[in-house]
């Protein structure tokens, strides 16, 4: 098992995708800090406050005030509702799909190693990768907010954002075995990426409904809210976590089942 894990990490040593995903996170953080321009514009804020409905309520509640607490919370919302599901699914599609794309699948499947080890090792690599992206994103956002000279810094805001982002990352991670399974079934990246995108479409459609907390791909957004809908945060219920864990277990079972019965001939 440890040898399989070591091999999976070694495979990433010269992988450009690692750099691409890091670049996406950093550029997204840079773009997000541009939003501060909008928050400083009284005309934009007036139009949001006078828009009525949930936007007016959010403005009245101070969700659009420019301070460290809101900026750090917006960062977590970015992972939950914008790039987390897509980027983490890309990572999973790459880790599981490259064996087929790079024609190393036949070697992997004929090695005298239990096939479940490959799945476990790849899931560990995905876990490390998405965790690193989350931490990188937090660091980049905090640096951007600091560079703009936003007031109200407190370590507590960063710590809260860290805890929330880890929880959001965990919730998204629990959905990733399904992406891995679709990647193995589709023998490539595209189907898995379309699936992830379809899940974000469904998630956004359900965001303001009661069904949101039962839809695994939407749970992260439900947990921390989304300032652009705006959807207020409302903690998950135990059933939500049960569903999320259930999706993980089913996804893992499907992935292991697929790799156990896979043939070396395409």
């Amino acid at each position: 098992m440890m040898a399989a894990l070591g091999a999976e990490f070694l495979k990433l040593k010269r992988s450009r995708t690692l750099l691409w995903t890091a670049l996406v996170v950093i550029v997204y953080a840079a773009f997000s800090t541009v939003m501060i321009v909008a928050l400083k514009d009284p005309e934009i804020m007036r139009s949001v406050a006078s828009a009525g409905g949930s936007f007016s309520k959010a403005a009245a509640a101070g969700l659009y005030d420019l301070n460290w607490a809101n900026q750090m919370h917006t960062f977590v919302q970015g992972i939950a509702g914008t790039w987390g599901v897509l980027l983490f699914s890309f990572v999973t599609a790459y880790v599981f799909g490259r064996e087929h794309k790079e024609d190393t699948e036949k070697n992997m499947l004929t090695s005298p190693v239990r096939r479940e080890y490959f799945v476990a090792a790849k899931m560990v690599v995905v876990a490390c990768w998405v965790l690193a992206l989350t931490l990188l994103s937090l660091a980049a956002h905090a640096a951007g907010v600091a560079l703009w000279g936003v007031e109200g810094f407190a370590v507590e805001h960063v710590a809260t954002a860290l805890a929330e982002s880890l929880e959001v990352t965990l919730l998204i991670y629990l959905t990733l075995p399904v992406v891995a399974w679709i990647t193995l079934m589709g023998r490539g990246y595209l189907r898995a990426m379309l699936f992830a995108f379809a899940m974000t479409i469904v998630g956004n459609g359900l965001a303001t409904t009661d069904a949101s907390r039962y839809f695994p791909w939407n749970m992260p957004m439900h947990l921390v809210g989304a300032s652009w809908m705006p959807v207020p945060p409302s903690g998950l219920i135990p059933v939500s976590w049960l569903i999320a864990v259930g999706v993980f277990v089913v996804g893992m079972a499907l992935t292991i089942g697929r790799i156990d019965t896979a043939d070396t001939t395409p």
Binding site: W20, V24, S47, W83, Y189, L190, M193, W228
Partner: protein, 247 residues
């Protein structure tokens, strides 16, 4: 040239990706209709006009850049992924023909998806029994969707160039996802008229409420978008003209 075009179309005959993009686009109006039902919204307030406006809005703010980017990445990247680039690059045919043929197929794919989205939106509106039907609402939605499709299409040579340079799907897909997010952010801060990926939001507005100001695009915006298309296409042609067939 016509042979290259024909062979590009034939290559898609059994491509499941076409079906997958159709299914993903088809999902959108059903999700919108389902969520309207689920929140118990007063359907009296949702009219044909407001429901049909969602088709171009959803394309501009949610799925257009991603799905059209995926189609471009697939058309240009698959030659490397499937190991056929070496055949393509050694055929006694002008290499520019392949680029032009692929861009033509991409235009058909983009138009097809845009019209499919409008058709299904209309079908959902009919199924929901919304009040205020008029053919005009469908024509307006179709016209706006085609304009949005064109604005996004003009950005696709950049995605295609990335797919060829990186010899695969992932970098161009990541680029498309990033541009989709950036389109929103630039629209919020009011720079949309100069940022090609934000320009589609000008046609029908955004489904994301007052945070996104409907940008006003000018003749200058079209010049910027067209220039991006020409530069992207030139980069593609230069790349393919000088590409080595060793993969």
């Amino acid at each position: 040239m016509l042979r290259a075009l024909r062979s590009e179309i034939v290559k898609l005959r059994r491509a499941r990706v076409v079906l997958w993009t159709v299914l993903t686009v088809a999902l959108v109006p059903f999700v919108v209709a389902f969520s309207i039902r689920l929140v118990g919204a007063d359907l009296g307030e949702t009219t044909w006009e407001s429901f049909m406006r969602l088709a171009p809005q959803m394309m501009a703010s949610w799925w257009g850049i991603m799905i059209f980017g995926l189609a471009a990445a697939y058309l240009f990247g698959r030659e490397f992924v499937e190991g056929t680039a070496k055949n393509m690059l050694t055929l006694p045919i002008r290499r520019e023909s392949f680029v032009v043929a692929k861009m033509a197929v991409l235009a058909i794919w983009v138009s097809g998806l845009a019209l499919l989205a409008v058709s299904l939106e209309a079908a959902c509106a009919a199924a929901l029994g919304l009040p205020g039907f008029a053919w005009e609402h469908i024509w307006v939605a179709a016209g706006e969707s085609m304009t949005i499709g064109l604005l996004i299409y003009l950005t696709l040579p950049v995605v295609a160039a990335l797919a060829m340079l990186e010899k695969g799907y992932l970098p161009p897909m990541l680029f498309s996802a990033l541009m989709e997010t950036a389109s929103m952010l630039f629209a919020v801060v009011g720079w949309a008229r100069w940022f090609p990926w934000s320009m589609p939001l000008a046609v029908a507005g955004s489904s994301m409420g007052p945070l996104i100001h409907k940008p006003e695009i000018s003749a200058g915006s079209w010049v910027v978008d067209a220039t991006l298309f020409v530069v992207g296409l030139a980069a593609l042609i230069v790349y393919i003209d000088r590409a080595d067939n060793a993969q």
